[in-house]
């Protein structure tokens, strides 16, 4: 009984394995182009599922675009040309690293600006705090009072 069960489980595993093997994504003929394509598509956004790269996405359009990139590369286009091809159709949004221009200036430098502002604020606060605890020399009057208090303390130990 147990043996049968075990055999069944093994068969299931084997079936899963084979099913998996059959479903493997077909790889393009040229491994060099395949590698370039995958590397480039990691920098490109899938427009259907916008938080995935073209390399990750299972969307139909992403598969089509990967195929398109493959073919463009086979025609000898550079990565830059492929990017331009896609930007012409889908806009800068396909690029995960948007180009530097006036519209994206805040996007690029906003975080740095925020950090500078934060550091400046922190510096200001620390400076003010240091001023609050800064040592100020006692006046002659205060010195006398302090000495009197200390003397009093010493004369009657608790």
């Amino acid at each position: 009984m147990l043996n049968r069960l075990l055999a069944g489980v093994l068969a299931l595993f084997a079936a899963a394995f084979w099913a998996d093997a059959r479903e493997a994504v077909p790889v393009g003929q040229d491994p060099a182009i395949e590698q370039r394509m995958m590397k480039l598509s990691e920098e490109l956004r899938c427009l259907v599922c916008q938080n995935q790269t073209l390399a990750d996405s299972q969307a139909d359009l992403a598969a089509d675009l990967r195929q398109e990139i493959r073919e463009l590369m086979q025609k000898g286009q550079t990565d830059e040309q492929v990017k331009r091809y896609l930007v012409a159709r889908y806009g800068d949004f396909v690029l995960y690293r948007p180009p530097l221009k006036w519209a994206t200036w805040l996007l690029w430098f906003g975080p740095a600006l925020l950090m500078v502002a934060g550091l400046a604020a922190l510096y200001g606060v620390l400076l003010r705090r240091r001023r609050l605890v800064a040592d100020e020399p006692l006046t002659a009057d205060q010195e006398k009072r302090a000495a009197a208090l200390l003397a009093e303390d010493e004369s009657q130990p608790s």
Partner: protein, 176 residues
Amino acid sequence: MRYLRFLIPLAAFAVLTGFLMKGLWMDPHTVPSPLIGKPAPAFRLTQVADPAKSVSRDEMLGKVWLLNVWASWCVSCRDEHPVLVDFSKTGIVPIYGLDYKDTRVEALKWLDQFGNPYDVSLFDPDGRVGIDYGVYGVPETYVIDKTGTIRYKQIGPITPEILHEKIVPLVRKLNA
């Protein structure tokens, strides 16, 4: 001066909230098309109804027309379709369909079932022309002018409001 301590963060918060509020009403799937104001990409495609007949972009020069990307597998196209069918009856502008990544059999069945608003439907089974037009979510609709320039792109279904507030006035202007 004392108020400033509170007013500056409050103002910053208000600005941030303003941007976030605006974001609430924006559709993240609407990506502005870089093709607006540019020549419509060239194509030569066969018709859905007749594989022997083809249409090219250049044959469309000289008239204002709509290119509506649809597919029988597209769910939101079903919402849009009655609007298009009604609109096609007014004859204001020719509507050409781009049947995107579909099969002829399914496409024809769909048109039979829901009505055919298109002057002609072009058949783009592998989505190549779709890529040239920057299609990423069906349905999409382009308004193309007499010189073959794309003037407007609607991403997602056309509603009667969009039709009457944007597309019809634009077509009239382009035809004037």
